[in-house]
Symmetry: C2
Amino acid sequence: MFKKEFKITPWNVEGEVDYEKLIKEFGVSKLEDNILERIKKHTKELHLFLRRKIFFAHRDLDWLLDEYEKGNKFFLYTGRAPSGDIHIGHLLPWIFCKWLQDKFDVDMWFQFPDEEKFLFKKNLSFEDTQKYLYENMLDVIALGFDEKKTHFLIDTKHANLMYKEACKVAKKITFSTVKASFGFTDSTNIGSIFYTSMQAVPAFLPSILKGKNIPCLIPLGIDQDTHFRVSRDVMPKLGFYKPAIMHNVFLPPLTGVSGKMSASDKISSIYTTDTPKQVETKIKKYAFSGGQPTIEEHRKKGGNPDVDVSYQYLRMFFEPDDKKLQKIHDDYKSGKLLTGELKEILIKKINDFLKEHQRKRELAKKRIDKFVFKN
Amino acid sequence: MFKKEFKITPWNVEGEVDYEKLIKEFGVSKLEDNILERIKKHTKELHLFLRRKIFFAHRDLDWLLDEYEKGNKFFLYTGRAPSGDIHIGHLLPWIFCKWLQDKFDVDMWFQFPDEEKFLFKKNLSFEDTQKYLYENMLDVIALGFDEKKTHFLIDTKHANLMYKEACKVAKKITFSTVKASFGFTDSTNIGSIFYTSMQAVPAFLPSILKGKNIPCLIPLGIDQDTHFRVSRDVMPKLGFYKPAIMHNVFLPPLTGVSGKMSASDKISSIYTTDTPKQVETKIKKYAFSGGQPTIEEHRKKGGNPDVDVSYQYLRMFFEPDDKKLQKIHDDYKSGKLLTGELKEILIKKINDFLKEHQRKRELAKKRIDKFVFKN
């Protein structure tokens, strides 16, 4: 499979991502089996995101585990810039955080930088981001985080905690650096230029609030790594640990295994609020197939699960049972399983998941206050 | 008197300032007698800062008076970036604000951008700015502002009110603009680049809080004009009036009539906390004299009040009585009044002022809470 040109910034992913190349370019480490074994020692089992290398790279995870084994517990930090509805691709790092929270019994700081997309998108207003903020919080809560150990930070609401700390970071980052790292130009607005400082803050704010240095682990989509490539070096200068990071690959859009699912491309994404009928229609109509043009040809030549989006969704998210997944893989490859049948399996899986998610999402409406950090 | 090269930014003033040239370069309007007459209609009398053109330029003051005469009251906004002790030069716009507050019965918003100098000065820590913040607030309160109508905004403390609004400003200002206006380079830190957005906020925050558009008048040293040259154009785009501005000249340093008094140059400044003895010593030792080398020569040729710092301090600040000032001027020019005698007049004036100021400054320690805006 040849790789086309691809481009990644925290605000845009284009083309078919070459993750091996990213590992080199970003200077991150591959998530090797020996480190998975170390995790398994503590968690007893490995989440499918780990077994199947959906989380595929990291920074300083060895160090984080060293600290944990010395009794120095970490906290989790991830986030969501409100700018649209949540699709299933967004859920990957959050579901993983929920698993880590349960397994390691740790606090979770979830940042909602409600100014970010306002600053970066020409036509997005603060009224828009506030609406999405509310909707997006429901999706996070619905995933089952422990309300006693999960703290939402909303940049504009918690700015009296965060802005001062962001200034400490900002003082140590020049325009040169953000120009090179984010591709900014002289036409970039000065809010966008400053913004990365705010994204750095939750990685050490809990240490300030607790009055002691606490290790931080950030699970995130690899496109967000740039922010921490810039700010990680600053943190020791401020007296804090560099946060450890775990990077996940992107859930591909329905339309094919390149780029990442995008909240603004309505036909290429499954939203957490889609109805069963919408899910069915989207999968049947748009999910890129690795099957053959005719049933006869498919029975003879078999399908290609590597490029089949339905299979990939099962592998990356919806079929946790390795044996069942292997059987689907083999049956599809041999031609025994037809594309239509494969799609039916996925549709049922997604709709079962969404039914439960949507139920919890409704209940979340009364629980937001329990999650927003009180300062 | 020939003018040397001079350079003005909000963080540095060098050389002998040519105010006529500044008016043209900055695109501000000269404060002409007709507008002073309009002010006098409302205030009955003119403050010495107006009579003697210590406030010498403005932006949109005609418009502000139009609005006032239509019943649309304005509010005042000025500020202080905590970074050192207060000298008498700092007091000019604040004393003028106090006079305006009394005469027009208006609210006053006083910003303490406690991150500004932290961002711009390499070796200044937040611990430093917090110490100066406290000290500087005492000086402002000591000037007699009405506690019911005066509201302190402290950037890091009030960031949950201000940061979101600053982002709205920031979205409309590019790096190009701040590069050209403030002389920033690629090596400037990203906090400094963002900062001007925070200084814009108090010019319209009261309008947001009151839910209606309120005109704003900003008395300030002309070096601060750059911030508003950048942000005034943004405000109508956000639905607010452009603030009107009144600009004061700098109180010269003791050592001569060029530059401005600097808080970091200990021998060229009179601080609000100086003892009577310190004031006497500084004036006698450092105050640049327009007198002649010997008494005999002085009696014969007379002194030059235009370059005499002691005379200038009396004119710009400490001798409100126009007739008395004229007599001092004439006597000095004729040689009747000696430099030593002129200095004695000034020393007594300053020490009388500081005695009262320091008494009120002590009382202010218990009143800070009444001034800090409750949000």
